[in-house]
């Protein structure tokens, strides 16, 4: 962590904050456009191409249009909360960016001041991000609740349940990163990745994080809170005009946030991709790292869009089961494995080569499991009654008879 954090002149802080704000807003406008274009391509359409070059100004135009729409506050709403909810959703989305590192220390143009390309850093930066992003959930839940509408309420409830469910897996995926980096400060985590980006040694963590981040941001295929087929618009059904725009903005900023966090924790942060530093010394200094950083982030954004373009929405129970019954145990097991391996490594009881071979074998085995045919559910159902109780013949002796009391099926709870 740079010693400069917390000791910079106010104007530097102000400038950096403003820049982050502007970048985020612009990036969001870009992302909306980007999403529409990519999805359109995937669907063999063209997408927005009228306003501005390549239709780049389309999002801005949409924003202005929203501002000119009527601002409706529904009668059943709890007014104060209803108005505060979008604000509450927006602010935390921006706040997380205070600790995201865009690059190393650089000189501010036209001055002699050098400053890290990061607003500030904390010893518990990642924890801070987790904390701040979860405040955003309040915005969503309160929006759903205060609207006084069934759809909105259901959306809010679902959203909160979903976010907290996937937050567990997300939080667990960080543990191995902290173990490797020995710190929770974002800049130190990036510094610790100067040799290897963590997505390689901690690949399972990376995968878990990526899945969880999609769930966290309520994006397809996990976009159940605003499943338009079931809930119309979910928590923001009753919102219109700029209030709606704020939710929209928050969602996209959150996407960028989780992508940036993924970049920071697993993809070496602002470091130039493999090989580039070897051929070009300047790649990791000055303002270039910002480029690498945004580039990596954009990859994740593309992933989001790609997922949306290809995968259908999950059923809610499937979605929850996936989070609770697969992500969490896998995360726990993985943490144990990482802790154990790392300990063995530091005690020199395990060398790199063995480890790599073990990883390869594990990977092959994992792939092999995909070849095992799935159990047919129909088969299972056919077997079930027999295992539970002797078969009941409803027509004993040719007449319909009710079952004897002891033959009544034991309730499902009882078997657990």
């Amino acid at each position: 962590m740079s010693d400069l954090f917390g000791h910079e002149p106010f104007w530097v802080v102000g400038l950096k904050a403003l820049l982050i704000f502007v970048i985020l807003v612009l990036y969001t406008l870009f992302n909306i456009w980007f999403e529409r274009r990519v999805v359109a391509r995937m669907q063999h359409r063209i997408g927005p191409n009228v306003h501005g070059p390549f239709g780049l100004l389309q999002s801005l135009a949409d924003g202005v249009k929203l501002a000119l729409k009527e601002d409706i506050v529904v009668k059943a709403a709890d007014k104060l909360v209803y108005v505060a909810a979008p604000i509450l959703a927006t602010i935390p989305a921006f706040l997380a960016w205070a600790v995201i590192p865009f690059g190393p220390e650089a000189k501010i143009p036209f001055t002699d001041t050098t400053t890290p390309l990061q607003l500030t850093d904390l010893p518990v930066a990642v924890l801070y991000i987790l904390a701040v992003t979860s405040i955003g959930v309040y915005g969503i839940v309160l929006a759903g609740w205060s609207s006084g509408s069934t759809y909105a309420l259901l959306g809010g409830m679902r959203s909160s349940a979903q976010v907290i469910s996937y937050e567990v897996a997300m939080g667990l995926s960080f543990v191995s990163v902290f173990m490797y980096a020995g710190s929770m400060s974002t800049s130190e985590i990036v510094a610790a990745q100067s040799d290897t980006w963590y997505f390689l040694p901690l690949f399972p963590s990376f995968v878990i994080y990526v899945i969880a981040m999609v769930g966290e941001t309520n994006r397809a295929p996990f976009d159940l809170p605003e499943a338009e087929g079931e809930l119309v618009g979910g928590f923001h059904t009753e919102y219109s005009s700029l209030k709606f725009a704020l939710f929209f903005l928050a969602e996209y900023v959150n996407m960028v946030t989780v992508s940036a966090l993924a970049t920071t924790l697993f993809l070496g942060g602002w470091r130039a991709p493999f090989g580039i530093p070897h051929v070009w010394d300047g790649a990791n200094s000055g303002y270039w790292p910002v480029l690498w950083f945004l580039g990596k982030t954009l990859c994740f954004i593309f992933l989001f869009i790609w997922l949306r373009g290809t995968l259908p929405r999950l059923r809610y129970d499937q979605f929850m089961a996936f989070g609770w019954k697969i992500l969490i145990p896998v995360s726990l097991a993985w943490i144990v494995a990482v802790a154990f391996i790392r300990k063995l490594r530091s005690e020199d009881m395990l060398d790199q080569k063995t480890l790599i071979w073990a990883a390869v074998v594990a990977g092959v085995l994992l792939l092999a499991t995909f070849l095992v045919p799935e159990k047919k559910p129909a088969l299972r159902q056919a077997q079930e009654p027999q295992s539970d109780s002797p078969e009941f013949d409803a027509f004993a002796g040719g007449y319909p008879v009710p079952p004897m009391p002891e033959k009544v099926d034991i309730p499902k709870e009882a078997r657990r």
């Binding site: 904050a17 009668k75 979008p86 927006t90 009753e238 700029l242 209030k243 609770w324």
Partner: protein
């Protein structure tokens, strides 16, 4: 000026923006009264009266909330351990295994007893 001050600055900016947006919306947009507009939206039909107190919400949500709390706590304790992992030596490893084992047992219990089902 501490490391936390910049967060306030950024937060202030974001808050100003959000409040400004919410505040400006009624001024920029038109105002055309229509009773239906002010009603709850229920896919275009006459909205049914809301039950007293917001109605009942599936207990599943509460269970999920409780489970989340339990696991979030586990995470809270895992983080310091992870950060200090190298310094704690074998003691840390073993203790943390035991800790995780207990949590995992609780998890297994919840799973077995249907706490994770959504039906």
């Amino acid at each position: 000026m501490t490391v936390y001050t910049p967060i306030l600055v950024l937060g202030g900016l974001a808050a100003a923006f959000a409040i400004f947006s919410v505040g400006i919306a009624p001024l920029t947009g038109p105002k055309r009264y229509n009773r239906a507009k002010l009603d709850r939206y229920e896919s275009g039909i006459e909205p049914s009266p809301l039950p007293e107190g917001g109605g009942r919400i599936s207990v599943r949500y509460f269970i999920i909330a409780m489970l989340f709390i339990v696991f979030d706590i586990e995470i809270i304790f895992l983080y310091p351990f992870a950060v200090a992992f190298d310094a704690l030596g074998w003691f840390g490893l073993v203790e943390m295994f035991i800790f995780m084992a207990t949590v995992f047992i609780a998890y297994a219990y919840v799973w077995r007893r249907g706490g994770l089902e959504w039906d």
